[in-house]
């Protein structure tokens, strides 16, 4: 158990421990903010489940340097994003844009939710409907009559039997 705990701690710490340290200097706090925002939002292409902020891959380092250079050159956040998308595709964005290619991605989950709600509603209404007495078809009515008469008959024979039993006990 202790070992397991240690492993879990190690695994979840790995990202924090491995976070790369760069020494970039900025002209303003605003620039530094954009830098950190961008490097959190852009995906590293080599080590795919990391943002370029947390990756030690060579390419991630280069891209951080590039963002830094572009910021110092006065480029805006949007311009830098566009620069990345033009080269590596929408894939670099952790937040993919809303366009025909990604409609399913964005609308899909909501669609599935509504489908689920629809089925849940139908299911609930069906149960209510089956509890309430509804109109019977001619066939069903006939079947019920048959069953009832059968029940009556078996009741009568049951009564006879119990009557006999009582007699037997008494004797």
């Amino acid at each position: 158990m202790k070992t397991l705990f240690a492993i879990v701690l190690l695994v979840f710490n790995a990202g924090v421990l491995a976070a790369p340290m760069d020494s970039f200097e900025f002209e303003s706090e605003a620039q530094e903010k954009i830098f950190h925002k961008l490097s959190e939002e852009l995906r590293c292409l080599v080590c795919q489940n990391q943002a370029i902020a947390e990756s030690n891959a060579d390419l991630a380092k280069d891209l951080r340097t590039e963002i830094h250079t572009m910021l110092l050159a006065g480029k805006s956040e949007e311009q830098i994003k566009e620069f990345m998308v033009n080269r590596y595709g929408d894939y670099v964005l952790y937040d993919p844009p809303f366009k025909p290619m990604t409609w399913l991605l964005w609308i899909g989950p909501i669609g599935v939710l509504f489908l689920g709600l629809h089925y849940a509603r139908r299911f609930i209404f069906q149960q209510n409907a089956s509890e309430a007495p509804g109109e019977l078809s001619a066939e069903e009515a006939e079947r019920i009559r048959d069953l009832q008469s059968e029940l009556n008959r078996s009741d009568q024979s049951n009564n006879k039997e119990t009557g006999n039993m009582k007699k037997e006990k008494r004797s």
């Binding site: 080599v46 390419l59 280069d62 891209l63 080269r87 590596y88 595709g89």
Partner: protein, 185 residues
Amino acid sequence: MTEIKQNNKSMLQRFMPLIIFTLLVVLLGVGLTLNPRLIPSPLIGKPVPVFELPLLNKEGVFSSEDFKGQITLLNVWASWCYACRQEHEVVKQLARSGLNVIGFNYKDKKEDAQLWLRQLGNPYQLVMADEDGRAAMDWGVYGAPETFLIDQQGIIRHKVIGPVSDQQNYDELIAAIKKISGSNL
């Protein structure tokens, strides 16, 4: 007749969870077998990026304009890249078949790259050296090997991510070469 219809409906309803489950399995199955390393390049169908790089083995530079006039295979490689070694024989074979193959030495030391070519053979018409990887960034390169197919107008028509010696990569590349040489000849 109505009874049959009702039966069909309830059958469908009964099997709905199974149907949904099967669809999900198929969807997830396809997702799992896709290779996440294959990122489609947004550069396909666009002109080559503007760049200029020094040559590895001689004086001079190579620039975007130099692609015009013939179909070119641009092979991104490095001496530190193991898969480049694997694909090298196939790159040689493509060069022997008469294709204009140009080398793009990616984030490498000049001496290492030159030694690598001496040892394994040099199939390239010329090799440009991108030591800091800045030009490669404009090409959307995110690893080696990568191979671009560029047509006579200097438009990027196909990109191979990973070794061209891989059968599927190879077949797709050959198909793309046939397509552009067929439609333009």
